[in-house]
Amino acid sequence: MIALVSAQMLGKAYRIPSRKLGEGAKLLHAVSDVSLSIQRGSIFGIVGESGSGKSTLGRLLIRLEKPTSGQLYFAGEDVTAIPRQRLSSQMQMIFQNPYGSFNPKQKIQNALMEVAKVHKIPKAKAMDLAATLIEEARLPESCTQRLPSELSGGQLQRLAIVRALMLNPEFLVADEPVSSLDVSVQAQILNLLLELKHSHSLSVLFISHEMPVVKAVCDEAAVMYLGSIVEMASTSELFSHPSHPYTKALLSAVPSLDPKIKKERIILKGDMPSPLGIPQGCPFAPRCPQAFSLCKTHKPVLTEAAPNHMASCHLVSTDKEVSKT
Protein backbone atom coordinates (compact mmCIF):
# COMPACT_ATOMS: atom_id res chain seq x y z
CA MET A 1 0.00 0.00 0.00
CA ILE A 2 1.29 3.45 -0.88
CA ALA A 3 1.62 5.65 2.15
CA LEU A 4 -0.23 8.97 2.02
CA VAL A 5 2.80 10.85 3.25
CA SER A 6 6.29 9.54 2.98
CA ALA A 7 9.46 11.40 3.95
CA GLN A 8 12.95 10.23 3.13
CA MET A 9 15.99 11.65 4.85
CA LEU A 10 14.21 14.97 5.26
CA GLY A 11 16.29 17.76 6.76
CA LYS A 12 16.03 21.45 7.54
CA ALA A 13 18.93 23.68 8.52
CA TYR A 14 18.40 27.35 9.35
CA ARG A 15 21.15 29.86 8.67
CA ILE A 16 22.11 31.69 11.81
CA PRO A 17 23.84 34.91 10.76
CA SER A 18 26.93 35.63 12.77
CA ARG A 19 26.70 38.58 15.12
CA LYS A 20 30.46 38.80 15.31
CA LEU A 21 32.72 40.35 12.71
CA GLY A 22 34.77 37.98 10.57
CA GLU A 23 32.76 34.92 11.49
CA GLY A 24 30.68 33.11 8.89
CA ALA A 25 27.03 32.18 9.29
CA LYS A 26 26.34 28.94 11.11
CA LEU A 27 23.76 26.29 10.39
CA LEU A 28 21.17 25.28 12.94
CA HIS A 29 20.05 21.74 12.18
CA ALA A 30 16.42 21.78 13.27
CA VAL A 31 15.52 18.51 11.52
CA SER A 32 18.04 15.94 10.30
CA ASP A 33 17.53 12.83 8.18
CA VAL A 34 13.96 12.09 9.14
CA SER A 35 12.31 9.19 7.32
CA LEU A 36 8.75 8.17 8.08
CA SER A 37 5.54 7.14 6.37
CA ILE A 38 1.98 7.89 7.35
CA GLN A 39 -0.75 5.58 6.05
CA ARG A 40 -4.18 6.72 4.98
CA GLY A 41 -6.56 6.83 7.90
CA SER A 42 -3.86 6.65 10.50
CA ILE A 43 -2.69 8.96 13.24
CA PHE A 44 1.05 9.30 13.61
CA GLY A 45 2.30 10.75 16.88
CA ILE A 46 5.42 12.85 17.35
CA VAL A 47 6.76 13.36 20.84
CA GLY A 48 10.07 14.74 21.98
CA GLU A 49 11.90 17.38 23.89
CA SER A 50 10.97 21.02 23.50
CA GLY A 51 13.07 22.38 20.63
CA SER A 52 13.75 18.97 19.09
CA GLY A 53 12.26 19.94 15.72
CA LYS A 54 8.67 18.69 15.90
CA SER A 55 6.96 21.85 14.63
CA THR A 56 9.62 22.29 11.96
CA LEU A 57 8.98 18.73 10.77
CA GLY A 58 5.26 19.46 10.67
CA ARG A 59 5.82 22.56 8.55
CA LEU A 60 8.06 20.57 6.21
CA LEU A 61 5.47 17.83 5.74
CA ILE A 62 2.77 20.24 4.58
CA ARG A 63 5.24 22.21 2.47
CA LEU A 64 4.93 25.37 4.49
CA GLU A 65 8.70 25.35 4.46
CA LYS A 66 11.13 23.86 1.99
CA PRO A 67 13.46 21.18 3.28
CA THR A 68 17.19 21.71 2.81
CA SER A 69 17.66 18.01 2.11
CA GLY A 70 15.70 14.84 1.43
CA GLN A 71 12.53 13.89 -0.42
CA LEU A 72 8.86 14.07 0.32
CA TYR A 73 6.07 12.11 -1.38
CA PHE A 74 2.34 12.62 -1.16
CA ALA A 75 0.32 9.57 -2.26
CA GLY A 76 3.41 8.33 -4.06
CA GLU A 77 4.02 11.55 -6.00
CA ASP A 78 7.04 13.74 -5.43
CA VAL A 79 5.57 16.86 -3.82
CA THR A 80 7.76 19.20 -5.81
CA ALA A 81 5.85 18.01 -8.89
CA ILE A 82 2.39 18.65 -7.42
CA PRO A 83 0.79 22.06 -8.10
CA ARG A 84 0.66 24.22 -4.99
CA GLN A 85 -3.10 24.81 -5.17
CA ARG A 86 -3.87 21.10 -5.20
CA LEU A 87 -1.51 20.38 -2.32
CA SER A 88 -2.83 23.13 -0.13
CA SER A 89 -6.42 22.00 -0.51
CA GLN A 90 -5.51 18.53 0.72
CA MET A 91 -3.34 19.47 3.66
CA GLN A 92 -4.01 21.60 6.67
CA MET A 93 -2.09 22.56 9.77
CA ILE A 94 -3.30 23.43 13.23
CA PHE A 95 -0.58 25.65 14.63
CA GLN A 96 0.89 25.32 18.08
CA ASN A 97 -0.07 28.83 19.11
CA PRO A 98 -3.72 29.54 18.29
CA TYR A 99 -3.28 33.25 19.15
CA GLY A 100 -0.64 33.62 16.48
CA SER A 101 -2.71 31.88 13.85
CA PHE A 102 -5.67 34.29 13.89
CA ASN A 103 -5.62 37.90 12.79
CA PRO A 104 -6.30 39.83 16.02
CA LYS A 105 -8.38 42.43 14.19
CA GLN A 106 -10.59 40.02 12.30
CA LYS A 107 -13.84 38.51 13.56
CA ILE A 108 -13.79 34.72 13.66
CA GLN A 109 -16.67 34.56 11.21
CA ASN A 110 -14.65 36.50 8.64
CA ALA A 111 -11.55 34.43 9.25
CA LEU A 112 -13.53 31.26 8.54
CA MET A 113 -15.13 32.75 5.42
CA GLU A 114 -11.75 33.82 4.19
CA VAL A 115 -10.28 30.31 4.20
CA ALA A 116 -13.43 29.01 2.52
CA LYS A 117 -12.98 31.59 -0.20
CA VAL A 118 -9.31 30.81 -0.71
CA HIS A 119 -10.18 27.14 -1.12
CA LYS A 120 -13.17 27.91 -3.33
CA ILE A 121 -15.83 26.37 -1.11
CA PRO A 122 -19.29 27.91 -1.66
CA LYS A 123 -20.20 30.26 1.20
CA ALA A 124 -23.37 28.45 2.26
CA LYS A 125 -21.64 25.09 2.35
CA ALA A 126 -18.76 26.51 4.36
CA MET A 127 -21.16 28.08 6.88
CA ASP A 128 -22.95 24.76 7.30
CA LEU A 129 -19.76 22.83 7.79
CA ALA A 130 -18.41 25.37 10.25
CA ALA A 131 -21.66 25.38 12.22
CA THR A 132 -21.64 21.59 12.58
CA LEU A 133 -18.02 21.54 13.68
CA ILE A 134 -18.58 24.40 16.12
CA GLU A 135 -21.32 22.41 17.75
CA GLU A 136 -19.22 19.26 17.87
CA ALA A 137 -16.43 21.26 19.49
CA ARG A 138 -18.97 22.40 22.10
CA LEU A 139 -18.46 26.05 21.31
CA PRO A 140 -21.25 28.58 21.70
CA GLU A 141 -22.62 29.85 18.38
CA SER A 142 -21.89 33.43 19.40
CA CYS A 143 -18.14 32.79 19.32
CA THR A 144 -17.95 33.46 15.58
CA GLN A 145 -19.00 37.07 16.17
CA ARG A 146 -16.03 37.71 18.45
CA LEU A 147 -12.50 38.93 17.97
CA PRO A 148 -9.76 36.50 19.04
CA SER A 149 -9.03 38.59 22.14
CA GLU A 150 -12.61 38.13 23.30
CA LEU A 151 -12.34 34.35 23.45
CA SER A 152 -10.72 32.03 25.94
CA GLY A 153 -7.52 30.21 24.99
CA GLY A 154 -9.28 26.88 24.68
CA GLN A 155 -12.10 28.39 22.62
CA LEU A 156 -9.59 29.84 20.18
CA GLN A 157 -7.71 26.56 19.99
CA ARG A 158 -10.94 24.76 19.12
CA LEU A 159 -11.71 27.37 16.46
CA ALA A 160 -8.31 26.70 14.90
CA ILE A 161 -9.32 23.05 14.72
CA VAL A 162 -12.68 23.98 13.19
CA ARG A 163 -10.95 26.14 10.59
CA ALA A 164 -8.63 23.29 9.57
CA LEU A 165 -11.29 20.58 9.52
CA MET A 166 -13.90 22.57 7.60
CA LEU A 167 -11.71 22.20 4.51
CA ASN A 168 -12.01 18.45 4.72
CA PRO A 169 -8.27 17.79 4.35
CA GLU A 170 -6.80 14.38 3.64
CA PHE A 171 -3.76 15.12 5.72
CA LEU A 172 -3.69 17.19 8.88
CA VAL A 173 -0.69 18.33 10.87
CA ALA A 174 -1.96 18.97 14.38
CA ASP A 175 0.71 20.71 16.46
CA GLU A 176 -0.29 20.40 20.12
CA PRO A 177 -3.96 20.74 19.14
CA VAL A 178 -5.44 20.14 22.57
CA SER A 179 -2.81 21.64 24.86
CA SER A 180 -5.15 24.39 26.15
CA LEU A 181 -8.17 22.21 26.76
CA ASP A 182 -9.36 20.67 29.99
CA VAL A 183 -9.36 16.89 29.99
CA SER A 184 -13.08 16.56 29.29
CA VAL A 185 -13.23 18.93 26.29
CA GLN A 186 -9.93 17.46 25.14
CA ALA A 187 -11.52 14.01 25.08
CA GLN A 188 -14.43 15.36 23.04
CA ILE A 189 -12.07 16.84 20.42
CA LEU A 190 -9.89 13.75 20.26
CA ASN A 191 -12.93 11.55 19.81
CA LEU A 192 -13.90 13.81 16.91
CA LEU A 193 -10.49 13.28 15.31
CA LEU A 194 -10.77 9.51 15.81
CA GLU A 195 -14.19 9.58 14.20
CA LEU A 196 -12.90 11.49 11.15
CA LYS A 197 -10.05 9.06 10.88
CA HIS A 198 -12.53 6.18 10.59
CA SER A 199 -15.22 7.89 8.51
CA HIS A 200 -13.06 10.01 6.18
CA SER A 201 -9.74 8.15 6.31
CA LEU A 202 -8.20 11.33 7.66
CA SER A 203 -4.45 11.03 8.25
CA VAL A 204 -2.87 13.07 11.01
CA LEU A 205 0.60 13.96 12.17
CA PHE A 206 -0.16 14.49 15.84
CA ILE A 207 2.46 16.45 17.78
CA SER A 208 1.97 16.33 21.52
CA HIS A 209 3.67 16.38 24.88
CA GLU A 210 0.91 14.47 26.60
CA MET A 211 1.99 10.86 26.62
CA PRO A 212 -1.36 9.41 27.70
CA VAL A 213 -3.04 11.32 24.87
CA VAL A 214 -0.56 10.04 22.29
CA LYS A 215 -1.09 6.55 23.57
CA ALA A 216 -4.84 6.88 23.32
CA VAL A 217 -5.18 8.36 19.82
CA CYS A 218 -2.09 7.46 17.78
CA ASP A 219 -1.55 4.28 15.82
CA GLU A 220 2.18 4.82 15.54
CA ALA A 221 4.56 7.28 17.12
CA ALA A 222 8.08 8.58 16.79
CA VAL A 223 10.27 10.14 19.47
CA MET A 224 12.47 13.05 18.40
CA TYR A 225 15.65 14.26 19.99
CA LEU A 226 17.75 17.10 18.63
CA GLY A 227 16.26 16.96 15.15
CA SER A 228 16.35 13.20 14.66
CA ILE A 229 13.96 10.36 15.25
CA VAL A 230 15.46 8.20 17.97
CA GLU A 231 12.66 5.67 18.31
CA MET A 232 9.61 4.71 16.27
CA ALA A 233 7.01 1.97 16.66
CA SER A 234 3.31 1.30 16.99
CA THR A 235 2.10 3.13 20.07
CA SER A 236 1.18 -0.01 21.94
CA GLU A 237 4.69 -1.36 21.36
CA LEU A 238 6.39 1.96 22.11
CA PHE A 239 4.63 2.43 25.42
CA SER A 240 4.91 -1.16 26.56
CA HIS A 241 8.54 -1.69 25.49
CA PRO A 242 10.32 1.66 25.22
CA SER A 243 13.91 0.87 24.31
CA HIS A 244 15.71 4.19 23.86
CA PRO A 245 16.92 5.66 27.17
CA TYR A 246 15.45 9.06 26.21
CA THR A 247 12.02 7.53 25.64
CA LYS A 248 12.29 5.80 28.99
CA ALA A 249 13.21 9.06 30.72
CA LEU A 250 10.36 10.87 28.98
CA LEU A 251 7.82 8.29 30.07
CA SER A 252 9.10 8.24 33.61
CA ALA A 253 8.79 12.03 33.87
CA VAL A 254 5.05 12.15 33.17
CA PRO A 255 3.67 13.76 36.32
CA SER A 256 1.44 11.39 38.18
CA LEU A 257 -1.57 11.87 40.38
CA ASP A 258 -0.21 9.30 42.74
CA PRO A 259 2.31 10.84 45.14
CA LYS A 260 4.03 7.45 45.56
CA ILE A 261 4.99 7.13 41.89
CA LYS A 262 7.28 10.16 41.97
CA LYS A 263 10.32 8.27 43.20
CA GLU A 264 10.85 6.13 40.10
CA ARG A 265 11.56 9.12 37.89
CA ILE A 266 14.68 9.11 35.73
CA ILE A 267 16.23 12.54 36.08
CA LEU A 268 18.18 13.79 33.07
CA LYS A 269 21.22 15.85 33.88
CA GLY A 270 22.54 18.60 31.65
CA ASP A 271 20.96 20.20 28.63
CA MET A 272 20.25 19.27 25.07
CA PRO A 273 23.46 19.89 23.08
CA SER A 274 23.58 22.90 20.79
CA PRO A 275 21.84 22.34 17.45
CA LEU A 276 24.63 24.43 15.92
CA GLY A 277 27.30 21.83 16.44
CA ILE A 278 25.77 18.43 16.99
CA PRO A 279 28.43 16.42 18.79
CA GLN A 280 30.13 13.37 17.43
CA GLY A 281 28.64 10.16 18.70
CA CYS A 282 25.14 9.81 20.02
CA PRO A 283 23.43 13.20 20.49
CA PHE A 284 21.89 11.92 23.72
CA ALA A 285 25.17 10.64 25.17
CA PRO A 286 25.95 13.72 27.33
CA ARG A 287 22.71 13.19 29.28
CA CYS A 288 22.19 9.48 28.96
CA PRO A 289 22.25 7.56 32.25
CA GLN A 290 23.32 4.42 30.35
CA ALA A 291 25.98 5.88 28.03
CA PHE A 292 29.18 3.89 27.53
CA SER A 293 32.38 4.55 25.58
CA LEU A 294 31.03 3.73 22.10
CA CYS A 295 28.27 6.31 22.52
CA LYS A 296 30.76 9.16 22.74
CA THR A 297 32.48 8.32 19.47
CA HIS A 298 29.94 6.70 17.14
CA LYS A 299 26.51 7.88 16.14
CA PRO A 300 23.99 5.06 16.42
CA VAL A 301 21.62 4.49 13.48
CA LEU A 302 17.98 3.44 13.59
CA THR A 303 17.94 -0.35 13.95
CA GLU A 304 15.17 -2.79 14.52
CA ALA A 305 14.77 -3.37 18.25
CA ALA A 306 11.84 -5.68 17.56
CA PRO A 307 9.72 -6.21 14.44
CA ASN A 308 8.49 -2.77 13.28
CA HIS A 309 10.15 -1.12 16.23
CA MET A 310 13.12 1.07 15.40
CA ALA A 311 15.51 2.69 17.82
CA SER A 312 18.85 4.42 17.43
CA CYS A 313 20.83 3.41 20.45
CA HIS A 314 24.00 1.36 20.80
CA LEU A 315 22.41 -0.62 23.61
CA VAL A 316 19.80 -1.80 21.16
CA SER A 317 22.20 -2.52 18.30
CA THR A 318 24.76 -4.30 20.50
CA ASP A 319 21.96 -6.33 22.05
CA LYS A 320 21.03 -7.43 18.55
CA GLU A 321 24.60 -8.41 17.78
CA VAL A 322 24.81 -10.46 20.94
CA SER A 323 21.53 -12.25 20.34
CA LYS A 324 22.49 -12.99 16.73
CA THR A 325 25.67 -14.84 17.73
Partner: protein, 322 residues
Protein backbone atom coordinates in the same frame (compact mmCIF):
# COMPACT_ATOMS: atom_id res chain seq x y z
CA UNK B 1 -4.85 37.25 57.80
CA UNK B 2 -1.69 35.59 56.51
CA UNK B 3 -3.14 35.70 53.03
CA UNK B 4 -1.28 37.53 50.33
CA UNK B 5 -4.24 37.54 48.00
CA UNK B 6 -7.86 37.44 49.04
CA UNK B 7 -10.46 37.57 46.29
CA UNK B 8 -13.99 38.11 47.55
CA UNK B 9 -17.13 37.73 45.56
CA UNK B 10 -15.51 38.83 42.32
CA UNK B 11 -17.90 39.37 39.44
CA UNK B 12 -16.89 40.29 35.90
CA UNK B 13 -19.44 41.05 33.19
CA UNK B 14 -18.44 41.56 29.57
CA UNK B 15 -20.41 43.82 27.28
CA UNK B 16 -20.29 41.38 24.40
CA UNK B 17 -21.86 42.12 21.03
CA UNK B 18 -24.71 39.70 21.77
CA UNK B 19 -25.47 41.13 25.20
CA UNK B 20 -24.09 41.27 28.71
CA UNK B 21 -22.15 38.11 29.50
CA UNK B 22 -21.69 37.12 33.11
CA UNK B 23 -18.20 35.64 32.93
CA UNK B 24 -17.49 35.54 36.67
CA UNK B 25 -20.32 35.40 39.17
CA UNK B 26 -18.88 35.59 42.65
CA UNK B 27 -15.41 34.08 42.75
CA UNK B 28 -13.81 33.53 46.17
CA UNK B 29 -10.16 32.58 46.32
CA UNK B 30 -7.36 33.04 48.83
CA UNK B 31 -3.65 32.44 48.42
CA UNK B 32 -1.26 32.44 51.35
CA UNK B 33 2.30 33.76 51.38
CA UNK B 34 4.59 31.32 49.61
CA UNK B 35 1.69 29.12 48.64
CA UNK B 36 1.41 27.52 45.22
CA UNK B 37 -2.28 27.43 44.46
CA UNK B 38 -3.65 25.43 41.53
CA UNK B 39 -6.64 26.58 39.50
CA UNK B 40 -8.41 24.15 37.20
CA UNK B 41 -11.70 24.19 35.35
CA UNK B 42 -13.42 23.67 32.06
CA UNK B 43 -12.23 25.66 29.08
CA UNK B 44 -13.96 29.08 29.12
CA UNK B 45 -15.08 28.88 32.75
CA UNK B 46 -13.31 32.17 33.52
CA UNK B 47 -9.81 31.32 34.75
CA UNK B 48 -7.97 33.84 32.58
CA UNK B 49 -10.68 36.41 33.23
CA UNK B 50 -9.99 36.11 36.96
CA UNK B 51 -6.23 36.29 36.41
CA UNK B 52 -6.54 39.43 34.31
CA UNK B 53 -8.81 41.05 36.89
CA UNK B 54 -6.10 40.68 39.55
CA UNK B 55 -3.79 42.74 37.37
CA UNK B 56 -6.42 45.26 36.32
CA UNK B 57 -6.06 44.26 32.70
CA UNK B 58 -9.68 44.40 31.62
CA UNK B 59 -10.92 47.07 29.27
CA UNK B 60 -12.77 49.46 31.60
CA UNK B 61 -15.33 50.50 29.02
CA UNK B 62 -16.44 47.04 28.08
CA UNK B 63 -16.34 45.25 31.41
CA UNK B 64 -18.09 45.70 34.72
CA UNK B 65 -16.20 44.46 37.75
CA UNK B 66 -17.53 44.04 41.27
CA UNK B 67 -16.22 42.53 44.47
CA UNK B 68 -12.85 42.86 46.19
CA UNK B 69 -9.33 41.78 45.30
CA UNK B 70 -7.24 42.29 48.42
CA UNK B 71 -3.52 42.18 47.82
CA UNK B 72 -1.57 42.54 51.07
CA UNK B 73 -4.75 43.94 52.51
CA UNK B 74 -5.46 46.67 49.97
CA UNK B 75 -8.16 46.38 47.38
CA UNK B 76 -6.74 46.39 43.86
CA UNK B 77 -10.16 47.21 42.44
CA UNK B 78 -10.26 50.43 44.45
CA UNK B 79 -6.73 51.57 43.58
CA UNK B 80 -6.03 54.35 41.10
CA UNK B 81 -4.80 52.93 37.76
CA UNK B 82 -1.31 54.32 38.34
CA UNK B 83 -0.86 52.27 41.46
CA UNK B 84 -2.15 49.12 39.83
CA UNK B 85 0.31 49.63 37.01
CA UNK B 86 3.08 49.91 39.59
CA UNK B 87 2.13 46.57 41.14
CA UNK B 88 2.19 44.93 37.75
CA UNK B 89 5.58 43.65 36.87
CA UNK B 90 7.04 44.38 40.29
CA UNK B 91 4.96 42.84 43.06
CA UNK B 92 2.78 40.81 40.73
CA UNK B 93 3.88 39.32 37.46
CA UNK B 94 2.02 37.24 34.97
CA UNK B 95 2.81 34.57 32.41
CA UNK B 96 0.08 34.87 29.82
CA UNK B 97 -1.59 31.97 28.09
CA UNK B 98 -0.48 33.42 24.75
CA UNK B 99 3.27 32.70 24.70
CA UNK B 100 4.02 35.76 22.60
CA UNK B 101 1.92 38.22 24.62
CA UNK B 102 4.74 39.67 26.67
CA UNK B 103 7.67 39.07 24.35
CA UNK B 104 8.84 41.87 22.11
CA UNK B 105 9.06 40.39 18.61
CA UNK B 106 11.78 42.81 17.55
CA UNK B 107 14.28 42.20 20.32
CA UNK B 108 16.52 39.26 21.19
CA UNK B 109 15.16 37.38 24.19
CA UNK B 110 18.34 37.76 26.23
CA UNK B 111 18.20 41.55 25.98
CA UNK B 112 14.55 41.50 27.00
CA UNK B 113 15.34 39.65 30.21
CA UNK B 114 18.36 41.88 30.87
CA UNK B 115 16.14 44.92 30.43
CA UNK B 116 13.80 43.53 33.07
CA UNK B 117 16.67 43.24 35.55
CA UNK B 118 17.86 46.73 34.81
CA UNK B 119 14.43 48.15 35.48
CA UNK B 120 13.82 46.28 38.68
CA UNK B 121 17.18 45.83 40.31
CA UNK B 122 18.81 48.97 38.99
CA UNK B 123 21.63 46.71 37.84
CA UNK B 124 24.48 47.76 35.57
CA UNK B 125 24.32 46.70 31.94
CA UNK B 126 27.01 44.11 32.41
CA UNK B 127 25.49 42.58 35.51
CA UNK B 128 22.07 42.49 33.87
CA UNK B 129 23.55 40.68 30.89
CA UNK B 130 25.18 38.10 33.12
CA UNK B 131 22.00 37.60 35.11
CA UNK B 132 19.96 37.18 31.95
CA UNK B 133 22.36 34.60 30.56
CA UNK B 134 22.25 32.69 33.84
CA UNK B 135 18.46 32.77 33.78
CA UNK B 136 18.41 31.38 30.24
CA UNK B 137 20.53 28.48 31.44
CA UNK B 138 18.18 27.89 34.34
CA UNK B 139 15.16 27.51 32.07
CA UNK B 140 17.15 25.26 29.75
CA UNK B 141 17.53 27.75 26.90
CA UNK B 142 21.00 26.57 26.01
CA UNK B 143 23.55 27.28 24.74
CA UNK B 144 22.79 30.70 26.16
CA UNK B 145 25.16 32.45 23.71
CA UNK B 146 22.96 31.26 20.84
CA UNK B 147 19.60 31.76 22.55
CA UNK B 148 20.43 35.19 24.00
CA UNK B 149 20.48 36.73 20.55
CA UNK B 150 17.60 34.84 18.98
CA UNK B 151 14.33 36.59 18.29
CA UNK B 152 11.09 35.07 19.59
CA UNK B 153 10.05 33.82 16.13
CA UNK B 154 13.26 31.80 15.91
CA UNK B 155 12.38 29.86 19.03
CA UNK B 156 10.19 26.80 19.32
CA UNK B 157 6.84 27.10 21.13
CA UNK B 158 8.21 25.65 24.33
CA UNK B 159 11.25 27.93 24.15
CA UNK B 160 9.00 31.00 23.90
CA UNK B 161 7.16 29.81 26.99
CA UNK B 162 10.42 29.36 28.85
CA UNK B 163 11.57 32.83 27.82
CA UNK B 164 8.33 34.23 29.28
CA UNK B 165 8.85 32.30 32.50
CA UNK B 166 12.40 33.61 32.75
CA UNK B 167 11.14 37.18 32.34
CA UNK B 168 8.35 36.74 34.84
CA UNK B 169 10.52 35.44 37.65
CA UNK B 170 13.51 37.66 37.02
CA UNK B 171 11.80 40.59 38.71
CA UNK B 172 11.22 38.52 41.89
CA UNK B 173 7.49 39.15 42.28
CA UNK B 174 5.55 38.44 45.46
CA UNK B 175 2.82 36.86 43.39
CA UNK B 176 3.31 35.03 40.14
CA UNK B 177 0.22 34.36 38.06
CA UNK B 178 1.02 31.60 35.59
CA UNK B 179 -1.70 30.95 33.03
CA UNK B 180 -0.93 27.50 31.57
CA UNK B 181 2.79 28.16 31.55
CA UNK B 182 4.02 24.74 30.48
CA UNK B 183 1.55 23.52 27.84
CA UNK B 184 4.30 23.39 25.20
CA UNK B 185 6.87 21.62 27.34
CA UNK B 186 7.71 17.95 27.37
CA UNK B 187 7.58 16.17 30.68
CA UNK B 188 11.32 16.33 31.41
CA UNK B 189 11.68 20.09 30.84
CA UNK B 190 8.35 20.70 32.51
CA UNK B 191 9.67 19.00 35.61
CA UNK B 192 12.81 21.17 35.49
CA UNK B 193 10.80 24.40 35.10
CA UNK B 194 8.33 23.55 37.83
CA UNK B 195 11.22 22.66 40.12
CA UNK B 196 12.63 26.12 39.39
CA UNK B 197 9.33 27.82 40.18
CA UNK B 198 9.08 25.82 43.38
CA UNK B 199 12.60 26.71 44.48
CA UNK B 200 12.00 30.43 43.82
CA UNK B 201 8.78 30.13 45.76
CA UNK B 202 10.52 28.41 48.68
CA UNK B 203 13.53 30.74 48.75
CA UNK B 204 11.81 34.06 48.28
CA UNK B 205 8.37 33.25 49.61
CA UNK B 206 6.83 33.89 46.21
CA UNK B 207 3.18 32.87 45.96
CA UNK B 208 1.93 31.35 42.75
CA UNK B 209 -1.49 31.10 41.16
CA UNK B 210 -1.01 28.26 38.71
CA UNK B 211 -3.70 27.80 36.07
CA UNK B 212 -3.36 24.41 34.42
CA UNK B 213 -5.32 21.55 32.93
CA UNK B 214 -2.72 19.06 34.05
CA UNK B 215 -3.70 17.30 37.25
CA UNK B 216 -0.31 15.65 37.49
CA UNK B 217 1.28 19.10 37.88
CA UNK B 218 -1.31 20.08 40.46
CA UNK B 219 -0.68 16.90 42.43
CA UNK B 220 3.06 17.42 42.48
CA UNK B 221 3.33 21.15 42.95
CA UNK B 222 0.28 22.68 44.56
CA UNK B 223 -0.54 22.74 48.22
CA UNK B 224 -4.12 23.74 47.58
CA UNK B 225 -6.31 23.69 44.54
CA UNK B 226 -9.51 25.41 43.42
CA UNK B 227 -11.88 24.10 40.80
CA UNK B 228 -13.91 26.55 38.71
CA UNK B 229 -17.07 25.89 36.80
CA UNK B 230 -19.06 28.46 34.81
CA UNK B 231 -17.73 31.55 36.53
CA UNK B 232 -17.53 30.28 40.11
CA UNK B 233 -15.11 28.42 42.31
CA UNK B 234 -17.15 25.30 43.07
CA UNK B 235 -14.60 23.45 45.17
CA UNK B 236 -11.43 24.32 47.09
CA UNK B 237 -9.24 22.18 49.24
CA UNK B 238 -5.98 20.64 50.13
CA UNK B 239 -4.65 19.04 46.94
CA UNK B 240 -4.17 15.51 48.27
CA UNK B 241 -7.53 15.53 49.99
CA UNK B 242 -9.39 17.03 47.03
CA UNK B 243 -7.91 14.64 44.50
CA UNK B 244 -8.49 11.64 46.73
CA UNK B 245 -12.05 12.52 47.65
CA UNK B 246 -13.54 15.17 45.38
CA UNK B 247 -16.89 16.41 46.65
CA UNK B 248 -18.38 18.44 43.80
CA UNK B 249 -19.87 16.35 40.97
CA UNK B 250 -18.05 18.44 38.35
CA UNK B 251 -14.72 17.71 40.02
CA UNK B 252 -15.64 14.03 40.26
CA UNK B 253 -16.53 13.89 36.56
CA UNK B 254 -13.49 15.90 35.52
CA UNK B 255 -11.10 13.64 37.38
CA UNK B 256 -12.77 10.64 35.75
CA UNK B 257 -11.93 12.14 32.33
CA UNK B 258 -8.17 12.28 32.91
CA UNK B 259 -6.46 10.13 30.28
CA UNK B 260 -4.09 7.71 31.95
CA UNK B 261 -1.14 5.78 30.61
CA UNK B 262 -2.59 2.57 32.05
CA UNK B 263 -5.82 2.89 30.04
CA UNK B 264 -6.21 0.89 26.87
CA UNK B 265 -9.63 1.74 25.41
CA UNK B 266 -9.71 3.84 22.26
CA UNK B 267 -12.53 6.20 23.21
CA UNK B 268 -11.71 8.85 25.74
CA UNK B 269 -14.08 9.78 28.52
CA UNK B 270 -15.67 13.20 28.45
CA UNK B 271 -18.52 14.88 30.33
CA UNK B 272 -21.64 15.02 28.17
CA UNK B 273 -23.10 18.42 27.32
CA UNK B 274 -21.52 21.81 27.62
CA UNK B 275 -21.86 24.81 29.90
CA UNK B 276 -24.16 27.57 28.71
CA UNK B 277 -22.81 31.08 28.52
CA UNK B 278 -24.65 33.21 31.05
CA UNK B 279 -26.61 36.15 29.80
CA UNK B 280 -28.63 36.44 33.00
CA UNK B 281 -27.41 36.14 36.55
CA UNK B 282 -27.57 32.45 37.50
CA UNK B 283 -30.47 31.11 39.55
CA UNK B 284 -29.73 27.48 40.40
CA UNK B 285 -26.59 25.42 40.08
CA UNK B 286 -24.83 25.88 36.73
CA UNK B 287 -23.88 22.23 36.53
CA UNK B 288 -27.51 21.12 36.85
CA UNK B 289 -28.14 20.14 33.23
CA UNK B 290 -25.05 17.91 33.13
CA UNK B 291 -25.04 16.60 36.67
CA UNK B 292 -25.84 12.96 37.32
CA UNK B 293 -26.33 13.56 41.03
CA UNK B 294 -28.69 16.51 40.84
CA UNK B 295 -31.55 17.01 43.28
CA UNK B 296 -34.78 18.97 42.75
CA UNK B 297 -33.52 21.91 44.74
CA UNK B 298 -30.46 22.32 42.48
CA UNK B 299 -32.39 23.88 39.64
CA UNK B 300 -34.01 26.55 41.77
CA UNK B 301 -31.55 27.42 44.44
CA UNK B 302 -28.01 28.61 44.08
CA UNK B 303 -25.76 26.31 46.16
CA UNK B 304 -23.75 28.21 48.76
CA UNK B 305 -20.10 27.42 49.40
CA UNK B 306 -19.78 25.38 52.59
CA UNK B 307 -17.26 23.30 54.47
CA UNK B 308 -17.28 19.66 53.48
CA UNK B 309 -14.18 18.63 55.42
CA UNK B 310 -11.13 20.17 57.04
CA UNK B 311 -10.08 23.09 54.83
CA UNK B 312 -12.25 21.63 52.09
CA UNK B 313 -15.19 23.59 50.67
CA UNK B 314 -17.74 22.89 47.97
CA UNK B 315 -20.74 24.63 46.47
CA UNK B 316 -23.17 21.80 45.85
CA UNK B 317 -26.50 20.74 47.37
CA UNK B 318 -25.75 17.08 46.90
CA UNK B 319 -22.43 17.17 48.70
CA UNK B 320 -23.96 19.28 51.49
CA UNK B 321 -26.71 16.72 52.00
CA UNK B 322 -24.35 13.74 51.91
Amino acid sequence: MGDLLDIRNLAVDFMAHEGIMYALCGVDLTIGKGEIHGLVGESSCGKSTAAKAILGLHNKKRTRIKGEILFEGSDILAMPPREVAKLRGSAISIIFQDPMASLNPLMGIGSQIAEMYRLHENASKRLAREKAAAMLEKVGLTPSELRYKQYPFELSGGMQQRAMIAMAISCSPKLLIADEPTTALDATIQAQILELVKSVSDEMGMSVLLITHNFGIIAELCKRVSVMYAGRVVETGDTQELLASPKHPYTIDLIASIPRLENSSEKLTSIAGSPKALYEPPVGCQYYSRCSRRLDICEKQYPETRDVGAGHKAACHWSHSA
